[in-house]
């Protein structure tokens, strides 16, 4: 992997990267099947407020499915997921409550192509939070400035590069002022040059103390910002550890194999 050091660690001061004792997400004995296929097996994961988790693993290991369960994009069949004290059930109202609190960024951005960048960002605040339009515009411009593309506000998604679109997607999620951000392989569909600009934004976000769960293969990013790296294989969590021991001294042989594969070149 080429992107080991995206920002020089000496430049960035640690900032408020402290982890509180409060629990943001609590996943207990989570099991999920696609028909007969057992995709998630007895997942137990507790994420504290301000914690940044990187989930990695080979494709098909269930890592995307795991984070998509957290905001109910996928239904689980057994176990429980609790977000900010609200337990996820099939109750649509509770699902909407949780979704308001949980922002998500997708691999393929999923911006709304028929709306401008600004409208993409203000849509949910206006309709879900009933925020006045002027205020929503101000909030959106603030976040667009933070992801460094305020000048693109009146363009349409199709006119932006992939990296820019992904940064808009991050801004769009942030406009809802979420407590937790989920990233589902945010850089996998990007050119190497664009990966850096997106990761920079994510590093920046991590330093504000946002609770983040990232499914990613960017090991440099994991080393730099993660409190914990979770490695999954065949639907279960195989190993979970702080980044330093995880990368230098992996315990499980599957983890060792995986790391040797991706760090080999």
């Amino acid at each position: 992997m080429a992107n080991v050091a995206h920002t020089d660690p000496t430049e960035t001061t640690p900032g408020p990267m402290t982890v509180s004792e409060e629990v943001a997400i609590d996943i207990v004995d989570l099991n999920k099947w696609y028909g007969e296929f057992h995709v998630l097996k007895n997942i137990n994961l507790t994420v504290n407020k301000g914690e940044r988790i990187v989930v990695c693993g080979p494709s098909g290991s269930g890592k995307s499915t795991l984070i998509r369960c957290i905001n109910a994009l996928e239904k689980h069949q057994k176990g429980s997921i609790t977000v900010d004290g609200t337990q996820l059930t099939s109750d649509l109202k509770k699902i909407d409550e949780i979704r308001k609190d949980v922002g998500m960024v997708f691999q393929h951005f999923n911006l709304f192509p028929h709306l401008t960048i600004l409208e993409n960002c203000t849509l949910a605040p206006i309709w879900v939070k009933k925020m006045p339009k002027r205020e929503a515009n101000e909030v959106a411009m603030r976040y667009l400035t933070r992801v460094k593309i305020p000048e693109q506000a009146n363009k349409y998604p199709g006119q932006l590069s992939g990296g820019q679109q992904q940064r808009v997607a991050i801004a769009r999620a942030l406009c809802m002022n979420p407590h937790v951000m989920l990233f589902d392989e945010p850089t996998s569909a990007l050119d190497p040059e664009m990966i850096k600009e997106v990761l920079d934004v994510m590093v920046d976000l991590a330093q504000t103390g946002m609770t983040m769960i990232c499914v990613t293969h960017e090991m440099g990013f994991a080393r730099q910002v993660a409190n914990r790296v979770v490695f999954m294989d065949q639907g279960q969590i195989v190993e979970s550890n702080a980044p330093e021991p995880f990368f230098t001294n992996p315990q499980h042989e599957r983890t060792q194999l995986f790391l040797s594969q991706i760090l080999a070149h």
């Binding site: 949980v102 393929h108 999923n110 709304f112 192509p113 949910a124 199709g158």
Partner: protein, 435 residues
């Protein structure tokens, strides 16, 4: 060093090539001709053959339809006499006199002559109701009304010279046109659009009141409706009703609720599996058996319901195609942001799905509009239904081309208009979001 040795030696670009204009021979009208009409010998031959064919057939048609046609006559035989007298033995020409004489009937059916301003005004209001849906500003409405007033003045001037009357220059339509045109001129900007849309919502009630009468207007029974008026009533109602109904059916068919889905699927498959004529017969005769005795609801109303239901089933499938074409990520992004189902549909999914479906939607509209002629089968006198009584009139016995040609022309103008508008809309929406 230039690019000459690029492939033979290690190469580093030292010059930056500026963009140059394309060679003259590849742009402009000559290049277009060469590329599209004369690109090969075969192509050139086909072009010439087509040209020859056009030159052969067009003068003949023009001769018949325009130069040797007759506009004023009392019967077909009189027409033929005039043509033979003017252009000599053996010449044929169009006898448009039948259209001239029966125009009122073809347009309004048996709607009382002194009340025909009511459909006219309704048409103007229909245009007024449609413009804010179709365009961003009310400018087109100003143009339409100004053109209408202009035409009316020209006709009045012509009549003043030939018949020493002003015709209907000061009739209700002129007044309505001036009022609406004036309003559209002064309050036609985008930010007034919502107010015009309020009128669009009120319009159906207004149209019903104007056409069928009541309160202060003389009531007109449905049996007097006919001609192009009937076509418009059925066509416009069907179009306006089938789109929202089709959207609901398409969403219902995609729903996660099994019973709702079952109902929608059954409805769509049943309606699509049955010919429209069958449904119209059900509307005209069978329905009476099912309804409690003594209920008598209007035949046109029954036809309207059937036509709308029929078109909405087709519409639902067209829109389902659009919904299916959207990437799953759009649904997920809308869910993730916490939008409710209806918010997501209205703000995210439908605007995109409908845009994809425009060609199919307009296709269904056009099909529906032309299918209105089928009501002739159950005895309603739409333009096509009127051809039989006209042709069985002793004066016009034997007339074919002129009558059907005129009706075809009316339908063509409407359908072609819809087609052009859909192309305009597609271009406008494409310009708005370049992907």
């Amino acid at each position: 060093m230039s690019g000459t040795h690029a492939h033979t030696v290690p190469y580093v670009a030292e010059t930056h090539y500026p963009a140059e204009p394309a060679p003259v021979s590849t742009t402009g009208p000559i290049a277009w001709l060469r590329e599209n009409l004369f690109s090969s010998w075969l192509n050139a031959a086909i072009t010439l053959i087509c040209l020859a064919f056009i030159l052969w057939i067009v003068p003949g048609i023009l001769d018949w339809a325009v130069f040797k046609s007759v506009w004023h006559a009392k019967s077909l035989s009189e027409c033929r006499e005039i043509i033979v007298q003017t252009y000599g033995e053996g010449t044929t020409g169009a006898c448009w006199a039948v259209i001239h004489e029966r125009l009122g009937q073809l347009l309004y059916g048996f709607y009382p002559v002194d009340q025909r301003w009511r459909p006219d005004v309704t048409l103007l209001l229909l245009i007024t109701a449609m413009i804010p849906l179709l365009f961003q500003t009310m400018r087109p409405l100003v143009v339409v009304m100004a053109a209408l007033i202009g035409v009316k003045i020209l006709i009045a001037a012509y009549l003043a010279v030939t018949e020493n009357t002003l015709g209907s220059l000061f009739g209700p339509t002129t007044i309505v046109a001036i009022v609406i045109g004036g309003l559209a001129y002064f309050f036609g900007d985008t930010h007034h659009r919502t107010r015009w849309l309020v009128f669009t919502i009120v319009f159906p009630i207004l149209a019903y009141f104007l056409l069928w009468g009541g309160i202060i207007l003389e009531p007109i029974p449905s049996s007097r409706f006919g001609g192009f008026l009937l076509t418009m009533v059925i066509g416009v109602t069907g179009i306006a009703g089938s789109l929202p109904l089709g959207i609901l059916l398409a969403l219902g068919r995609q729903s996660k609720l099994p019973i709702l889905r079952l109902i929608c699927v059954t409805f769509i498959e049943f309606i699509r599996g049955v010919p429209l004529i069958t449904l119209l017969f059900v509307a005209s005769t069978l329905l009476n058996y099912f309804l409690p005795p003594g209920t008598n609801f209007d035949l046109i109303l029954r036809v309207l319901i059937m036509v709308t239901l029929f078109a909405s089933a087709y519409m639902a499938e067209v829109i389902r195609g659009g919904l299916a074409a959207l990437p799953k990520g759009q649904y997920e992004a809308s869910d993730t942001l916490g939008l409710t189902y209806w918010q997501g549909m209205r703000l995210i999914i439908l605007p995109q799905a409908l845009k994809i479906s425009i060609p199919g939607i307009v296709n269904t509209f056009i099909g529906l509009f032309k299918d209105t002629t089928l009501v002739a089968v159950i005895g309603l006198l739409d333009p096509l239904g009127l051809t039989n009584p006209i042709r069985s009139d002793a004066n016009w016995n034997g007339i074919v081309w002129e009558l059907y040609g005129f009706i075809a022309f009316l339908f063509f103008v409407c359908c072609w208009g819809m087609s052009r508008y859909s192309m305009y809309l597609e271009t406008r929406l494409r310009a708005a979001d370049r992907r």
